[in-house]
Amino acid sequence: MEKLLLLGDEAIAQAALDAGMSGMYAYPGTPSTEIMEFIQHSKMAKENNVHSIWSANEKTSMESAIGMSYAGKRTMVAMKHVGLNVAADAFLNAAITGVNGGLVVVTADDPSMHSSQNEQDNRFYGKFALIPIFEPVNQQDAYNMVYDAFEMSEKFNVPILIRITTRLAHSRAGVARREVKLHNKITLPKNPRQFVLLPSIAKVQYKQLLDNQSKFEENSEKSIYNIYEDGSDKSLGIIACGISYNYLKENYNDTKIPFPVLRVCQYPVPKEQIKKLMAECKEVLVLEDGYPFVEEMVKGILDKEPVKGRLDGSLPRDGELNPNIVKRAITGEKFIVEIPKIVQNRPPALCKGCGHIDAYLALNKALIKYGEGRVFADIGCYTLGALEPYNAINSCVDMGASITMAKGAADAGLVPAVAVIGDSTFTHSGMTGLLDAVVENSPITVIISDNFTTGMTGGQNSHALGRLEKICEGIGVEPEHIRVFHPTSKNFDEMVSIIEEELQYKGVSVIIPRRQCVQTMKNKDLVAKVKELKLN
């Protein structure tokens, strides 16, 4: 069959469609966004009526997927690594409910923090939930593993976690497809109480999950993805997890790797094969594009085993691996990366003509008399307001934290405290925090910088479109303290005076600077919708 040229993300999406997935759930987040986008643009998905609308956040995505699984259909949910923190409650409990239709969870981790605030390794979540994890080496693996994962999920009555990293998510290669499967029919769970996690039921099901661990281990041990390649030089054994195998292989081009190599790409870890490698080799190097997850296990607290990796300094403790780093760990060969001094850093910046800029300039002016250090921002393009020349914000922690951090600071006496949050981030995780502030009538000023889109990830639809004032009123913000303006340099004085007025108000104010994201001007549907809603 002809190969398709697909990003790792796209290979995952195509595999899910071919495996008969009926619905996909996600919230945009680099590097996972292209999985959902591929489904949204797929003709095959449209013809089969596959659900592909963005959700409000990762928790609602996960719960909708659990619901679809309950109804007997195959479903997938994908998110960036930190998204799984948001969905963790549902995710961990889904391991205990088990599944009806196959449920596959994709986490796209971001070692080196190319586009993230941390580099957490979500294999820990898989282990935490006591479920199997697949970690592909390449795009074809990603396809095959997702395809197999649906089968496995139904066979073992458990969600399956697929863990990729940025490099695989955003790298293209040829991928061969497999046979297209029909969708499952709607069927209710055989046990009507399967999804009722009352303690009495949860205890029984948790025991089942624990009992299943040996089956998962046995499956890992004979998995086609955990491959033991023997080598003649037993001075070193290498455990290569997921994509790190490519960086190892790169250093031996077309020649055979002289050392025994165990590829670990399906978890729980294949203990017997690891024991074999340890027994045969003098020492073992563990390669992982993430935290020293396997390394720590193999090393153990007693530190009796000769294990090299991220913990002993053979590899850097943080950041993404590459072929040179792996080579250095094996041969000791150093490499120097010297960029000519004339080259300057070119950090990302807010686009020319962006509405966030005008909002920040007005906010900075209005805040002069109160002094610095009182603006709590959030996750999105507007986080770039932290940089020169704006220096407009003092925090960016997690989705929604702007409002609640402003509240906490105001509780401490830092008044006025300001929150800056985007429209999509507000509906993701800002609404509940606003309710906390309303209940206490906290003296905070919340700026919802509304650009009608999820900008940083490429302009996906925002759930907030046309709904912001009603949401804020519904939560209980006084209508006279919900102020909307059009952020342009022409309106500068008006914006400053509106912000100044609300900073003086000793209760919850919401200010909405509202102007369409300049990157979405070519999106005809959005332009038409904005016109229809009379938002501009």
């Binding site: 040229l5 680099t30 490099r167 040179n324 120097i336 010297e338 004339i342 990302p348 807010l350």
Partner: protein, 195 residues
């Protein structure tokens, strides 16, 4: 056959189209391909790059090791130098001469071009000007691909076919302009450089 290429530029400058064209051309030639690119935050005016690997053999790593790239193809002069540690001892650096200035401390352009000229194998081309001459400033990136095509071990016709496929949706006029841009870039190097 093996070509390891670093594509360099600034978010929004169209290196994705260059990558797509080379990728499609490689598929037409029946070659293996891996192409890693940058999405997300850096696309907002930050530096972006793509690792493009084409080979008749299987390709292991999505990332090109330092000192192994056969070609740095940059649509912006300062960005060309950022990836110098990747260039192999026999590799070529092909760059647009026109700067994209969105930072206050952008270096002196003459000094920048001098630094590039001091490298043993370099091509500097005003792709913006050539693109305007063939009919569309926006095809400057494809002029760059034409200039660099000398250093990619693939049939030139495959690039033309690649362009025809990639731009087909945008109509024959767009396809024609981009083919012209590709040819003009190639011709410029033929006439002005010996290699």
């Amino acid at each position: 056959m093996k070509s390891d290429i670093i594509l360099a530029g600034v978010g929004g400058q169209g290196i994705v189209s260059i990558a797509a064209t080379i990728g499609t051309a490689a598929l037409i030639e029946g070659l293996n391909l891996k192409q890693s690119e940058v999405h997300g935050m850096s696309q907002r005016g930050g530096d972006v790059s793509s690792n493009m690997r084409v080979s008749s053999n299987e390709i292991a790593s999505d990332l090109i090791p330092y000192g192994q790239a056969d070609l740095i193809l940059s649509v912006e002069p300062m960005e060309a130098l950022r990836y110098l540690p990747f260039l192999s001892e026999s590799g070529w650096l092909v760059t647009n001469s026109e700067p994209f200035i969105n930072i206050d401390n952008y270096p002196n352009l003459d000094e920048l071009l001098e630094k590039i000229k001091s490298l043993p194998r370099n091509v500097i081309i005003n792709a913006d000007k050539i693109a305007a001459e063939v009919g569309s400033r926006r095809s400057s990136n494809i002029v760059m691909l034409g200039a660099a095509s000398h250093f990619i071990d693939m049939d030139f016709d495959a690039f033309k076919k690649g362009i025809t496929q990639i731009f087909a949706k945008k109509g024959t006029e767009t396809v024609d302009v981009n083919i012209k841009a590709l040819e003009a870039g190639r011709k410029f190097v033929e006439e002005n450089y010996k290699f």
